[in-house]
Symmetry: C3
Subunit: 133 residues, 3 copies
């Protein structure tokens, strides 16, 4: 089973919460115990899991990534397509997160939300959700 | 199947090996071939896989993360809860690791151990272990 | 089911594409829907997913990691085995990636390739491929 959801990002960089959509897909599946994969088929965005209560956490994450991996820094790929920093961030953070499904419920912690981290928007993004028993 | 284990961390930052506990859970399950998920339901700690023989590797990992992501650096979230750096580290490293189960045995390499990386302790932490066929 | 493939790396640091080999293993398995784990049982290399069309992206990733985590920086582990930076990179990037299998096909995006990131070569490396239903 693979369910795809579509997300329109609106900025160059942003973190967009998709927790509700993933929870709903898990609830509607008939799987009680398993592993849920949340995957983006893109090379300039990532899936992250972190606090989604105080939105300042998302701003701190994006700002810190930009200090570590500046938007422009004599990257070779910038001569081909001006988004090398987005590729580097996506490679380090990775395109997916895996979660536990137990008693039919996605086992997120109290302060954990699932989000798409966009590094080269605005773009139309897809997210694949798979659940394995 | 989800098994939860509990870990009490004792410092602000530390890396605590849980390899033996995860291996034991895999051995006791009746699953010969599959994927094992090791997941923390927390937003200020992570699961890492790396060398657990020379403990200096753990010290080098924590020290390097603190150079890259300083404990305090005008983070916006620090005004709400003084642990923004811990959230950023946890977001970048992620809350889980997935491993192969083959012939009923967790397929760790010779120099690989599984550990909890605490970034905002001391706290009571949970770890969820799931095995999918 | 676990299939192991073997990769000989030839440099201290390099990114070696294994997309074709993983796709072939997925195609030959009789699994239509599931999660595919690509895992290296090593503590000084990682699996990454990113663009494999413009090779400059790989050079930018390795160069940026070396700016963030210099090859030598008074690491404690360097006194035991002169490869602390490789361990730190491998711990942050992690030893695996998980992907979706749908309709019997590995669901990579148009610009995504799977690769081994070697941080302490040249070495003989193994990659484990598992597919869970």
């Amino acid at each position: 089973m693979q369910i795809a959801i579509e997300i329109k990002t609106t900025k160059k960089e942003e973190i967009i919460d998709i927790t509700g959509q993933v929870k709903e897909i898990v609830k509607k599946s008939d799987i009680d115990e398993g592993i849920c994969l949340v995957y983006v088929p893109h090379a300039t965005c990532s899936v992250i899991i972190n606090e989604n209560y105080d939105k300042a956490v998302c701003e701190d994450i994006l700002a810190t990534l930009n200090k570590i991996i500046p938007l422009h820094d004599n990257y070779k790929h910038d001569k081909i397509d001006n988004n090398a920093a987005a590729h580097i961030k996506a490679a380090i953070l990775g395109p997916s997160q895996s979660l536990s499904v137990h008693d039919g419920i996605l086992q997120l912690g109290q302060w954990q939300g699932i989000a798409i981290a966009e590094f080269d928007g605005p773009r139309d993004r897809k997210v694949y959700i798979n659940i394995s028993r």
